[in-house]
């Protein structure tokens, strides 16, 4: 019996093993439960969504709510289409949408009650956005079937007022995606403002200008020679026009490619990379907790001509629209942007407000004197190149861009900028995919967006 007693301790091996396993499971459960729960295949998400809280825009317009156990979206179909990417369609397809990312808040999920709490106990939350649904609807329609994105925010408070991404669809009559309409609905689930990066073209020249101003004291006095074509080690860099002798400010205004190619080559890879990365290129940037698609500036293996093209916003350059909007905020604010956000406040469906968003600063992108010089140059662009008539009653600083995408496609048209007037503190970015020249494609949309915001504006 003595032996048996001793040997029976062998059983402890299994018992302790199971206890360790159980402890480990509880540990994993407590750490990972949110990740485990928010999986596209989880049927609780879609079924519980019908109990979910509502999402309203800044003016209190209901974007989505639960009525009689059904998820009901905004009445106006234009608003429904315009806010699709922000609000989501209740599925997990648009992964950056608020109904996806804040599903925990909307459904009141927590580790303690899971999805089990009955209605009187549930902690559903309503979310108020900073967006203006009506402005979004109008701007979205202004794209007239083109793909792209238009975003605008208050650069003093960080509140996003307009954010649309095209193509889009009406949640109530979701199209069937086939090979035939593949072109029209390409990347329909992507919020282009957040989750995509595009060839910037000339809007990138703002960064090259900043790099120049930052590293050379005499940069405003330097002149460049544009003969339409410049050869670097046997490779051509070409400009739209023969600009002759031209300085930095006029170069930016006329968007002379030779000037910015020259600057990039003159400064060299190291300085360019260092200066461009100060703006947040090649880095993760988050807006309301969403990781933006990265803006890229990569000179790996670049020849001299490649380096020149990189200064013009071609080569491997990529820019994310929301990141670009922050940069506009930076130039408007003397070099340091306020971070944009969508969520104004979150409150319990039955009860108190539990979260109010407040402005937060991203960090200095560029020194104040350089920022102010660029602001002046951008103001000069509008006055002398695009015309103040585009933005009646406003003092807009802007830069257009045309990003060549190759493959025989039309280039991407850009316009980025902000209002100098701090009583109308709006920064904006408009991108029209394959829209052709920025001033012609993106320009009118930006003009329309700013006019609409001004008309609807409660900003004093």
């Amino acid at each position: 019996m003595k032996n048996t007693r001793k040997r029976s301790r062998f059983l402890y091996l299994f018992l302790v093993g199971s206890l360790v396993g159980l402890t480990y499971f509880i540990y994993e459960f407590s750490i990972n439960s949110s990740y485990w729960v928010f999986q596209p295949f989880n049927k609780h998400l879609s079924s519980q969504m019908t109990d979910g809280g509502k999402i309203i825009d800044k003016n209190g317009v209901i974007l989505v709510q639960t009525k009689n156990g059904k998820r009901v979206y905004a009445e106006n179909p234009d608003i429904r289409k315009a806010i699709l990417h922000t609000v989501g369609d209740g599925s997990t397809l648009i992964s950056t949408s608020i109904q996806c990312r804040y599903v925990q808040e909307i459904l009141g999920y927590n580790l303690i009650t899971g999805f089990g709490a009955p209605e009187p106990l549930n902690r559903n939350k309503d979310i108020k956005l900073t967006l203006d649904g009506e402005v979004c609807a109008k701007v979205s329609n202004a794209f007239k079937g083109k793909k792209g994105t238009a975003i605008a925010y208050n650069y003093l408070t960080g509140e996003l007022i307009c954010s649309v991404s095209l193509p889009t669809y009406d949640v109530y009559s979701k199209p069937v995606f086939t090979e035939d309409n593949d072109g029209i609905y390409e990347g329909v689930y992507i919020n282009r403002a957040l989750s995509a990066s595009f060839v910037p073209g000339s809007i990138f020249k703002l960064f090259t200008t900043a790099a120049m101003l930052n590293s050379r004291n005499d940069s405003e006095n330097i002149t460049f020679e544009c003969n339409k074509i410049k050869i670097y080690e046997g490779e051509k860099v070409t400009c739209m026009k023969n600009h002759g002798r031209i300085n930095l400010q006029t170069g930016l205004c006329k968007s002379c490619d030779i000037v910015f190619g020259d600057i990039a080559v003159e400064l060299g890879k190291d300085i360019m990379l260092k200066e461009i990365e100060k703006f947040g290129f090649n880095k993760e940037i988050k807006v309301d907790g969403i990781s933006l698609s990265r803006s890229k500036y990569d000179l790996e293996g670049a020849t001299k001509a490649d380096l020149a093209w990189s200064g013009i916003g071609q080569y491997k350059d990529l820019v994310n629209p929301m990141h670009m909007l922050m940069v506009m905020g930076a130039f408007a604010n003397g070099g340091t942007p306020v971070k944009p956000f969508f969520i104004k406040e979150i409150r319990l469906s039955r009860g108190d407000t539990i979260f109010i968003n407040s402005p937060s600063v991203y960090g200095e992108m560029v020194k104040k004197d350089v920022s102010d010089k660029i602001k002046a140059m951008m103001r000069n662009n509008t006055k002398n190149q695009y015309g103040d008539s585009m933005f009646p009653g406003m003092k807009i600083c802007a830069k257009t861009g045309t990003g060549e995408v190759g493959e025989g496609k039309e280039p991407n048209g850009w316009i980025v900028g902000f209002s100098e007037d701090r009583k109308f503190p709006i920064a904006f970015v408009v991108l029209v995919e394959n829209g052709g020249f920025g001033i012609k494609s993106a320009g009118p949309i930006a003009s329309f967006m700013l006019k609409t915001i001004k008309a609807n504006s409660t900003i004093k």
Binding site: K6, F10, T113, G114
Partner: protein, 556 residues
């Protein structure tokens, strides 16, 4: 009104884990309180040294070896000389192959012989006399035992009532949970409770057994399984409840069969042969279901012979101390185990093979005590395992998804990811029985039942179920060292080891902590064979508790 009602149902649902904890705590508390302290049963007086040796155990080895229970000095004493053990008829001494033999009152003992108090036993020159503890002292003791067992009987009834309350609340929440009222859970509750009380009355008054804690725990677990299935259809309830009933019969049958361990030793061989035959029938006539050929159709009922053989395996493996001392080698058992394992591999039931192997490890270690052979067997198993991986590529697939299930969300890790997602969706108190989505996933009520419980009953009940089974293991080990025979000790540890290991494979396999092997959760998983087997294994733990056969002796 509807809102208020759903609130009440939810509050009841949140009460369940607390009730579960109370049930488990009380079961193990009474189990603990009711185990006998280390007081001697009888005295053995060594006339040479005047030493009084208290005999604590029911089976005692005598010899020169330091590991003997009663150590005797002298060169004429063999290392393992004899075994002194107690049976219904009294104390018996048995020669276990000594060189110099045993003499009772001068007469040589051939094999074994009864020793009465006052007899002088000569072992290698040591003159030992069996002496009772003072007669009145013994009487007092037994009186004490009787007195002590009284409240435990009362509390057995209370325990059963607590379990019934638990099942009632659970059934109630299912009945009134949706907009329409369901009756199936009420039927399930009626069956669980009815069968449970009937079983209690029979064990108490027909078998005269003291203590019902183990049975109450098993009923508690079985009820959770039946109630979970109650939302599927009536057929599931009937199958599960009648299997529980069959399991209880199996439980009683095994207890009766092994009442006399010496007798049980004799027909071990027949059980072993039967088991192998059953395997053979399975291999020849078995049906392939879900990748393994472990199903047998008998008159429209599909049964899993490997489950039934699990109980037989424990039976065949175990041994009394007397036999252990005389026949040291494990050849027979190793042969039997190998045949079992081979059959399981042929059937492709990898998970059950692992469970059998665990049983084999525990039994062989408890019989031989040899760490060296344990290591040898384990390394052999690893080699064998590698061979299987080579020949059964689908098992390799399981291993490649293991700990990486999120990379195989829609194929190899499909089941595990669903378990994790839906477990987390349930929170601590569950979404309500029948309201989960994991039940729609393949094998949800068997292999993934832990996930279903976590989702619908809540994590706390899930943990309670696991803890309950682990505690069962601790309890089995505790009673095994006080047991009436080494036969029961080994059987108890092996049965507990099998139950706990199988639970681990099921629970941790589903939760992606171990590879998913597809075994059932004892007592809880849906499936008749598994239920019957779980109750059968429980009988071995019950037998190991010294009280199990005591009360009956008292009556006789």
């Amino acid at each position: 009104m509807v809102l208020l009602f759903s609130l009440i149902i939810y509050i009841l649902q949140t009460l369940l884990p607390f009730l579960a904890i109370i049930i488990i705590y009380n079961c193990f508390k009474t189990l603990r309180v009711n185990t006998r302290k280390d007081s001697p049963l009888i005295l053995l007086v060594n006339k040479n040294t005047k030493e009084k040796i208290p005999i604590i155990h029911w089976e005692n080895s005598i010899g020169r070896s330091r590991s003997s229970d009663i150590i005797l000095d002298g060169i004429t004493v063999s290392r393992d000389h004899a075994v002194l053990f107690r049976r219904d008829e009294g104390w018996i001494i048995s020669d276990t192959g000594s060189k110099t033999g045993i003499y009772i009152n001068g007469n040589k003992v051939n094999g074994s012989k009864k020793v009465s108090p006052g007899d002088t036993v000569d072992i290698g020159g040591n003159k030992l006399v069996l002496e009772r503890l003072e007669d009145n002292k013994i009487l007092k003791k037994s009186e004490k035992l009787e007195n002590k067992s009284e409240p435990s009987v009362a509390s057995s009834g209370a325990l059963l009532a607590l379990v019934a309350v638990f099942h009632f609340i659970a059934a109630f929440t299912v009945c009134f949970q949706a907009t329409q009222i369901k009756f199936e859970p009420a039927i399930a509750f009626g069956l669980i409770t009815g069968i449970g009380w009937l079983f209690f009355i029979i064990t108490r008054y027909v078998f005269g057994r003291v203590g019902f804690e183990l049975e109450a725990l098993a009923l508690f677990l079985s009820g959770i399984g039946i109630l979970t299935a109650s939302t599927v259809d009536l057929k599931a309830i009937y199958i599960q409840a009648s299997s529980m009933f069959l399991g209880m019969i199996m439980f009683c049958l095994i207890l009766t069969l092994i009442k006399n361990p010496d007798m049980a030793m004799k027909f071990r061989i027949y059980i072993g042969v039967l088991a192998i035959l059953l395997f053979a029938v399975n291999i020849v006539f078995g049906k392939i279901k879900n990748g393994s050929q472990n199903w047998l159709n008998v008159y429209g009922l599909s049964i899993q012979p490997s489950e039934i053989i699990k109980a037989a395996f424990v039976f065949v493996g175990t041994s009394t101390l007397e036999k252990l001392q005389t026949a040291r080698n494990l050849t027979g058992f190793i042969l039997f185990s190998s045949l079992c394992m081979l059959s399981l591999f042929l059937m492709g039931d990898f998970g059950t093979a692992c469970v059998f192997f665990t049983g084999f490890l525990i039994i062989s270690f408890m019989r031989s005590g040899s760490l060296r052979s344990l290591v040898l067997v384990l390394s052999g198993a690893v080699l064998g395992g590698l061979m299987i991986l080579k020949f059964k590529p689908y098992i390799v697939d399981r291993f490649c998804a293991w700990r990486h299930v999120w990379s195989y969300v829609n194929d190899l890790g499909c089941q595990q990811t669903r378990v994790l997602t839906y477990s987390a969706s349930g929170g601590l108190f569950g979404v309500g029985i029948g309201k989960g989505y994991l039940r729609g996933v393949f094998a949800s009520f068997t292999d993934l039942i832990f996930g279903v419980i976590c989702e619908e009953w809540g994590l706390l009940i899930g943990i309670s179920v696991v803890l309950c089974i682990i505690l069962l293991g601790f309890y089995a080990r505790r009673v095994s060292i006080k047991s009436r025979s080494v036969f029961y000790s080994i059987a108890s540890c092996a049965a507990a080891g099998i139950i706990v290991f199988q639970m681990s494979l099921n629970v941790f396999g589903a939760a992606d902590i171990l590879p998913l092997t597809g075994v059932t959760l004892p007592f809880v998983s849906l499936g008749g064979s598994s239920m019957v087997c779980s109750w059968g294994l429980l009988a071995f733990i019950k037998a190991s508790d010294e009280r199990t056969y005591a009360a009956r002796r008292g009556r006789a």
